[in-house]
Amino acid sequence: MVNTLLLVGGVLLITITGGILFALLLDQPMWGQGVIRIMAIAPFFVMPTVSGRVWKNMFMNPVNGIFGHIAQWLDVPPIEFFSEIPLLSIILIVSWQWLPFATLILLTSLQSLDQEQLEAAEMDGAGSIGRFAYVILPHLARAITVVILIQTIFLLSIFAEILVTTNGGPGVATTNLTYLVYVSSLLQFDVGMGSAGGVIAIILANIVAIFLMRMIGKNLDA
């Protein structure tokens, strides 16, 4: 459970902070806007399996991975990501996957911000930090809530997979992504416990879903 909270919390923090930064960046008029936006959203469409493998082999492999090479180049001992800091690795990978989603939602929200409000704040003497704090952030509040809710649902379903398969056993604390995705799902065929876990996960997810729907409902009204 603590792992799950750490996972969800960490991913939310990274994706929302990063999402706001990217959204602000992408909202600037620039050359090749369309292409950059597509590139920003692309990772979201990369399948979890593939992305797990890409991360594992290309970035985090201590011998051949990019981080490994950087570490070698810096003459620092490479980090065995999945065995030394498993949870952080998972958080990083999942965040990387969800960042484009957060960026896209926040960007859409940002584009619906009335430019005249920003100009009014500028005339009123607010600097760029003031404009961000007093105008942009409150405007994004609703979109941030939506991102939090949707991500929580999906991140909980990662939790649900753990629950359904390894049943939250002692293996969780040291679970790494490969184990989680490729192996754990099939070692234990305890159907009864698995189903019970699944039902709990469904209930949890649906409680969040109800909040989400209310939010969307309000949004449509306003």
Binding site: D114, E116, Q117, E119, A120, A121, E122, M123, D124, G125, A126, G130, Y134, V135, P138, H139, A141
Partner: protein, 334 residues
């Protein structure tokens, strides 16, 4: 204080020159209205003065100082936006306080100014509401309140009444005019509605495609429009413009006569025509009269009790003093 001057100011977006070199002087305490059809550059001009856009070339001077490197907030101008641009998540009180908070004015002074503005604008009982809970007219007042508390050198209004309905607009028009009388601060007001321009302005600046067509008082523009564009734009209903033979008789390429300057006479006048549609407003009647040899039917203003039937023949006599004559290049013949 509140003296604004543009010298050879131009504005281009990319390759498109929206405003060709333009000179304009706005004296302290004046109520100046920029008016023109949509796309004439009037809002861009206001934004150049506000500093929300930079001039491409030329100079904007405020109180004799070049404002080129002054950010909008330091120019001492307050702007009221078309969309009101209130901060939706703040209460009315915090909206009005926002510019003072940014300027680090002491809280007691803020309170005093908010109370003053709220009293003047009848907003006292709404101070704790959110903008979303207010009507259009009230939001408009909050936006004006936010401008007033800054005690600016000049107010800039960007079509502030265009989102209000007709009845409210008349009321707000008068409120803004009265505000100007009381504060005696320079006001620059942008609108596409010539009625607003005529009723509010000391000085009207008529713009077309970024070019100033005429600058003058409302009655100056009404009586001696410098060209066909201004003549057609100012006044409602529009001035009747007549080309061809009927104009040649007056030694002009085009003649113009306003509906209120044509009299219906019992015996043969200058023109004889057939009554078309009559619009009965009660106070006046606007009659469309088709005349042989003139392409467009003339609009004639008659009294509220005018009672000419559809298809009747009537005689029209323009008042010669109010006849406008224009040359081929559309400028006024004096």
């Amino acid at each position: 204080m509140g003296h604004i001057c543009l010298r050879g100011a131009t504005k281009s977006f990319g390759d498109t020159q929206v405003i060709p070199p333009l000179d304009l002087e706005i004296t302290k305490g004046a109520f100046v209205v920029f008016v023109g059809p949509s796309g004439c550059g009037k809002s861009t001009l206001l934004r150049l003065i506000a500093g929300l856009e930079d001039v491409t070339e030329g100079v904007v001077e405020i109180n004799g100082q070049d404002a080129k490197h002054l950010p909008p907030a330091k120019r001492g101008l307050a702007m009221v936006f078309q969309s009101y641009a209130l901060y939706p998540h703040m209460s009315v009180r915090r909206n009005i306080a926002f510019p003072m908070k940014m300027a680090r004015i002491p809280p007691e002074e803020q309170e005093r100014r908010i109370a003053d503005a709220a009293r003047v604008l009848n907003l006292t009982e709404y101070l704790d509401r959110r903008p979303g809970q207010l009507s259009g007219g009230q939001r408009q007042r909050v936006a004006i309140g936010r401008a007033i508390v800054r005690e600016p050198e000049a107010f800039l209004f960007d079509e502030p009444l265009s989102n209000l309905d007709a009845a409210l607009r008349v009321g707000m028009r008068i409120e803004i005019t009265e505000l100007h009388k009381r504060l005696a601060t320079t006001m620059i007001y942008v609108t596409h509605d010539q009625v607003e321009a005529m009723t509010m302005a000391d000085t009207i600046v008529v713009l077309r495609a970024g070019v100033i067509e005429q600058v003058g008082g409302p009655l100056e523009l009404y009586h001696s429009s410098r060209n066909l564009f201004v003549a057609g734009f100012i006044g409602s209903p529009r001035m009747n413009l007549i080309h061809g033979d009927a104009a040649d008789r007056f030694d002009a390429h085009t003649i113009g006569i306003r509906p209120e300057h044509i009299d219906i006479v019992s015996t043969a006048g200058v023109w004889t025509g057939t009554v078309g549609i009559a619009e009965h407003l009660g106070s006046d009647t606007f009659i469309r009269v088709a005349i042989k040899g003139i392409a467009e039917p003339l609009t004639v203003r008659a009294g509220g009790d005018a009672n000419h039937g559809y298809g009747d023949t009537i005689h029209l006599q323009p008042r010669m003093d109010f006849l406008h004559r224009f040359a081929r290049d559309s400028t006024r013949i004096p």
